[in-house]
């Protein structure tokens, strides 16, 4: 079985290997360039002092320069987002669909090996290959993206950055492969299986990222006065889900805004801070957030969900395979 | 060694065709006692017919005492059909030629002669072998 799996999929494996090699080279080259520029512009210092008001305009200019220079490179990041999907489309979907489409399932399933064993070995080997590849590019992208992450003062929780680094890509890749295999058992033709994989993958990813991920753990609330201290630390990497200014009765008066005046300051016409916005006494800033310290916990939860989905789909696929004739 | 041929349009059973071909070969002296008949596998493969059919034909020949199977070796001819009749055939043939000339002189066409021979044979000679002839007779 192992020989057969290798013989059948060696071409896909070599293509994938070549593709990963190209991407890897691209990553190393641009990654090193970014790091050099990051250091040359003095950004490490700016990042370290991000909380200080004194960091000033030099840092802002450096950040902008870095942003302009590498905004094109960041498009490559989109490629890393779709890599798991490509693996699902080209490794997962054809696994069963092509056999049935070409009728070869009647050939291979009537040799002396049970269908269950055929499925376990094939899914196992293709899954293992997907795992190795995804761990590889997950780690690679984590390394590659970190200057962009810091240089663009982006939060690691942001949709784009959360999804393409750490362990999440491993979960996505395994899920995509399992989805492809399962789709192939339901629509045993190549194109429908691939289309179903595409739609299913994008649908589940978007649904989980927008609806479920903010609720993996109960979000925390933070309130701090309009005037005075207690504002959150921007370098903490918190994921702010929602924020605004509430009045004394707790009613939201200015959604998606925050008002911060230095202690003892007043408006230009002598009125109290924020009065021009209609803020009365007792108004305060409010935000709902996931603390930055939960980043790895969230990565683990997200990966766990997708791995669990993958396992479920594979079990269903094996059950369905019993019934294909 | 003889080679079998099959007449696909013949109404005669495949196995009967094989039996008849062996008998024909025995009559004309192509096969003699001690000769080996083609192996079952070879006949089945060459003619693309069921090996059981060949076996059945050989069994029929054994029942008629014309051949015997030697396990693991093959089937061999044990008796000939030519024996007694072969020397007589020339004389009989001369008689037949003379008779044919008389029939022609009497105004019979070749079709008439064939019909006369067949009906006379059917009337005066017993039907030979187990082959069913009712299809053509009925």
């Amino acid at each position: 079985m192992i020989w057969l799996t290798w013989r059948q999929h060696r071409r896909e494996a070599l293509f994938a290997l070549a593709g990963l090699a190209v991407i890897g080279t691209l990553m190393v080259v641009t990654g090193l360039a970014m790091r050099t520029a990051f250091n040359d512009y003095g950004l490490p210092e700016c990042v370290a002092r991000a909380g200080d008001a004194g960091a000033g305009s030099n840092c802002n200019r450096a950040f902008n320069q870095f942003y302009d220079q590498f905004s094109a490179v960041s498009l490559a990041g989109i490629l890393f987002l779709v890599l798991p999907l490509l693996v699902g489309l080209f490794w997962g979907a054809p696994l069963v669909a092509r056999e049935v489409e070409q009728g070869t399932h009647r050939f291979v399933w009537t040799q002396g090996v049970s269908r269950r064993r055929w499925a376990l070995v094939k899914f196992g080997l293709v899954g293992a290959a997907a795992l190795v590849a995804s761990v590889g590019y997950g780690l690679g992208v984590s390394w590659w993206v970190s200057p962009l992450n810091q240089g663009w003062r982006q939060n690691r929780f942001d949709a784009f950055f959360f999804d393409m680094q750490g362990v999440a890509p491993v979960g996505y890749t395994l899920f995509a492969v399992a989805l492809g295999i399962f789709a192939g058992t339901v629509w045993p033709r190549m194109l429908p299986a691939m289309a179903a994989t595409l739609v299913g993958f994008v649908g589940v990813r978007v649904a989980l990222a927008t609806l479920a991920r903010p609720r993996y753990l109960p979000a925390r609330e933070l309130t701090y006065p309009v005037q005075g201290t207690g504002e959150p630390d921007p370098t903490g990497g918190d994921w702010i889900l929602s924020s605004g200014v509430h009045d004394a009765s707790g009613r939201m008066v200015a959604p998606n805004a925050q008002v911060i005046c230095p202690p003892g300051a007043s408006g230009p016409d002598g009125r109290a801070c924020g009065a021009e916005l209609g803020l009365g006494p007792g108004a305060y800033n409010w935000q709902l957030y996931q603390p930055g310290s939960r980043y790895w916990l969230f990565q683990t939860i997200e990966t766990g969900i997708f791995v669990a989905l993958a396992v479920l789909l594979l079990v269903l696929a094996i059950r369905r395979i019993r019934r294909i004739a | 060694m003889i080679e079998f041929v099959l007449d696909g349009r013949s109404k005669v059973n495949t196995y009967m065709q094989l039996v008849q071909q062996v008998k024909q070969a025995l009559r004309v002296g192509l096969l003699a006692p001690g000769d080996q008949l083609p192996k079952v596998r070879e006949v089945a493969q060459a003619l693309a017919i069921n090996p059981n059919t060949v076996l059945k034909a050989y069994r029929e020949l054994e029942i008629e005492g014309l051949a015997e199977g030697r396990p693991g070796v093959g089937t061999f001819v044990t008796r000939t059909l030519a024996g007694a009749s072969l020397p007589n055939q020339a004389e009989l043939r001369d008689d037949l030629v003379a008779w044919l000339h008389r029939a022609q002189a009497a105004g019979l066409t070749p079709e008439d002669i064939t019909a006369l021979v067949e009906t006379t044979m059917r009337a005066s000679l017993p039907v030979e072998g187990p082959a069913r002839q009712s299809a053509s007779a009925g």
Binding site: M1, W3, L4, R7, Q8, Q102, G103, T104, R106, F107, V108, W109, T110, Q111, G112, V113, S114, R115, R116, R322, R323, A325 | L6, G8, K11, T14, V40, R41, A44, Q45, A46, L47, A48, I49, N50, P51, N52, T53, V54, R132, S134, A135, G138
Partner: protein, 296 residues
Amino acid sequence: MEAVLETDQLGKRYGRQWALRDCTLRLPAGRIAALVGPNGAGKSTLLHLAVGLSRPDAGVVRVLGEPPHHNPAVLAQVGFVAQDTPLYRDFTATELITMGGRLNRRWDATLARTRLADLGIPPGKPVGKLSGGQRAQVALALALAKRPRLLLLDEPVASLDPLARREFLQTLMGSVADTGTSVLLSSHLLADVERVCDHLIVLHAAQVRLGGAVDDLVTAHRRLVGPRHDGAPIPGVAEIVRGSHTDRQSTLLVRTDGPVTDPLWTEHDVALEDVILAYLVDGETQTNHAAWGVPA
């Protein structure tokens, strides 16, 4: 005698449509059996049930005494060539033989190689680039390399040209003579069936219409010609399979259970092909002149 294939009330359904129904038959060992019927009669369904590719929805199927579905022990003793001889087209014949060796406990690679060498099939060419006849030969060699006790072939020669068809049947008959394997092959080429098979199963509209040894079937059936038949029983006739009538005369294809002695009826032998066709025709053909807009 031992049965290599036995079914009892076997049924298989796709959705609400029965592809095979109430199928009860018994195939003794050592036979070469033909499965005959029009397209969609359930031939492939029966073969897929026999090779364990699908599971019965009703009744039982036993191959070499055991139910074949999800039963690698049975699978090891059954050779199967599916319709259109599907093979991995980018594999060479050599690679397919290697593959068979890895997937089967009992595997005679030498037999397969010898067979393909005898036929002059190139070992290193992807089988997708071979001719249809050569590909069918490769598929047959792979099925035979299992040294099966039962060989199931689904329309093995349907897509081959006459020469390739003859060569395929020659190889098949040679192997059967060598090994004594039982064979069940589906076909709609009645001439081939008549030449090769000694057992017959006729399927029509998902049901078994006729089954048994060819010799018995041919002997049991007769064509009777006589005066117009009014439906009265004829002594010696078990069943009138098919009849056609003019205003004075009836021609009946009948299954007999004894000699037909009634002098009104003239008896004729029938060929196997006539018997098969009689069972495949559904009674009287329904005319539909109105639908075609032509006078009857």
